[in-house]
Symmetry: C2
Subunit: 413 residues, 2 copies
Amino acid sequence: MAKVAVLGHGVVGSGVVEVMQKNKSVIEKKAGQTMEVKRILDLREFPGLPYSDKFTKDFQDILNDDEISVVAEVMGGTHPAFEFATACLEKGKSVVTSNKELVAAKGAELLATARKNNVNFFFEASVGGGIPIIQPLHLCLSANRIEEIAGILNGTTNFILTKMIHENMPFDQALKLAQELGYAEKDPTADIEGHDACRKICILASLCYGKHVYPESVHTEGITGLTLEDVAYAGDWGGVIKLIGRAKRLENGMVSAMVCPAFIPNDSQLANINDVFNGILVRGNATGDVVFYGKGAGKLPTASAVVSDIIAAAKAHGTSNSLTWADCHEDYVIDYKKCDIAFYLRFVSNDPNAKAKVQAKLGTVHFLNRDDQPVNEFAVTTETLNEGALEQALDELSKENIKLLGKIRILDY
Amino acid sequence: MAKVAVLGHGVVGSGVVEVMQKNKSVIEKKAGQTMEVKRILDLREFPGLPYSDKFTKDFQDILNDDEISVVAEVMGGTHPAFEFATACLEKGKSVVTSNKELVAAKGAELLATARKNNVNFFFEASVGGGIPIIQPLHLCLSANRIEEIAGILNGTTNFILTKMIHENMPFDQALKLAQELGYAEKDPTADIEGHDACRKICILASLCYGKHVYPESVHTEGITGLTLEDVAYAGDWGGVIKLIGRAKRLENGMVSAMVCPAFIPNDSQLANINDVFNGILVRGNATGDVVFYGKGAGKLPTASAVVSDIIAAAKAHGTSNSLTWADCHEDYVIDYKKCDIAFYLRFVSNDPNAKAKVQAKLGTVHFLNRDDQPVNEFAVTTETLNEGALEQALDELSKENIKLLGKIRILDY
């Protein structure tokens, strides 16, 4: 018999209770024991539910209940989620969470606390919602050196990009539609500026490479600067624009990690991941490319990932099966300006020699075309360039009145 | 320190040794202990290898070596693989395998033997090569009731179909090319007749629904009857033909399981899985559709899945973490003729009333077109029909000289 507490009765929390009830027989069979949600922490009132008696506003009721062996933290935010999770782990309770902000900020610390107390800290739901990715990376791809991991990690921005690409809908209108459909928050900053994807790639990079990657060290660009013109040039190039979080192992022991819009070729497995779906590509040195696809968010998908962790924690009671990663030293994540990558660049200039000047600065480029292209606009793709050197070259071009309208990295998955 | 034996030094077996050496540091970090291949069983001689001293021709050398705690069975076939695996489990050694034939025929029995002896029997590599699927299904989707699982489970046939679809290459020529490239065996029967996919869907169905599904109970059709005409009609319908293995939970506690070519709509995640790649779609009642994609075969992908199981077995030494399923009773898998499904049907007839007669027998149909369509040929898609009733109707039409040229099920993933 495992007794479970749920911290937070929002979208995910109520989903956890729902899945635990709806799939009770499947869950108990998998867990090999009876499973019951005993307490739910929320400051709000929830009268009239069949389980209204389980609510408490006092975290101590859960912390001090020795019957409760697994706690699902689904409140979101770093505080007090971090303090609550730490307290539970120190009391010998396993903690599972869907809270990517918490894991990205405090993962190394919480994993260490779990290990010290011989309990588990699991977070399958923190990346990719209902898509199994954390455990498969940890367990099934364990024989691989992971060369690279890249994914469409945010459903909101992927929905917006899908509308821009397939319906030629401008960014602002697509964002508004996403908000109307409930896919985007009233304040959409965390999604559209790439912060949400950043937290997720931090978690994946930490897991793949064994050292914590903090969000602050990851160069992050959102999709607010993208235009339908960029989308059209991407089409001419033979691909689409996706917001990609990626992390890559470098030969010198460092990693590169970044979130940015990117040109992706049409025949890539990531190119056809549309709407609010997520997809994550893992490149192993033995297994090659493996892709995981599914709903990256939503009440029941996310809740089902939380519940799968609850089951795993209940089964592992009394042992510490948590994966681990160490904290990282400074300079572990390489400065993005030191990386080499190919680019799409869009310029406007009335200088008749603008194209020649761009070629002189950037070397071989390939020109792209779009419908209704103004005579003073042109777009190119470059060969692989050092990003720091490119920025300097673009600065110099800007001084010659060759103005940059768009800059998007080109990825080849 | 875990010492490992490898039974069979063929493609996968030599890959296992290679991955164990190449990724030694990653593997030992994941396993939390040193890992070493101590013995390799093969009747052939392998002189001149850096590890030639590890070979033995006598299985007893491995069975009676108490230092060896994990045995990788990668010989293929049911005998003596079954006897060897059983003997190892009974001696307290965990067994991991890539042998789908063995798991599909003897899985329930081997899992029971493993459990009885408090060791593990793992088989991640038996389905989908390097794609993580067995453990994700078992662990990460454990909070879901799996409504359905369907996949492109055989790379050889998917390569042939890709050539037929994208290069208009006839079946025989595509098969020959697959043989030249080493994707198909000299005797390609197991692939092109669907037997290989059948074993894999048996394993997945057993895992999802908890009772062993035997290959003999699964209606299996291969791709030998497919023509470029069928491919063209599928295109007109808006999709492609894929060889799909599928299993579905029925409300009455039975399951339906089948391997057959199927029409798949272009916007399905399974439609764009091409060449030798595999893809597996899992439909959970909470998480919705999740798709796993990657190389379904090949030396290193398959070997890396075997090695991930070796790591898991080494970590779990002294405990039994194996998933389990029970043996099944008769009548657990429903007769395919009792199922309802929609069909594509292609006919030839010189009867001017043939189309009307087909409509009279089959109800609402939708006519498809192709280039160079002979005047006496027509193709339709039907609504959902009972398959047994359809077979009878087709029999009757045949007696009226309306001859069936092709029959393919329509799936909607």
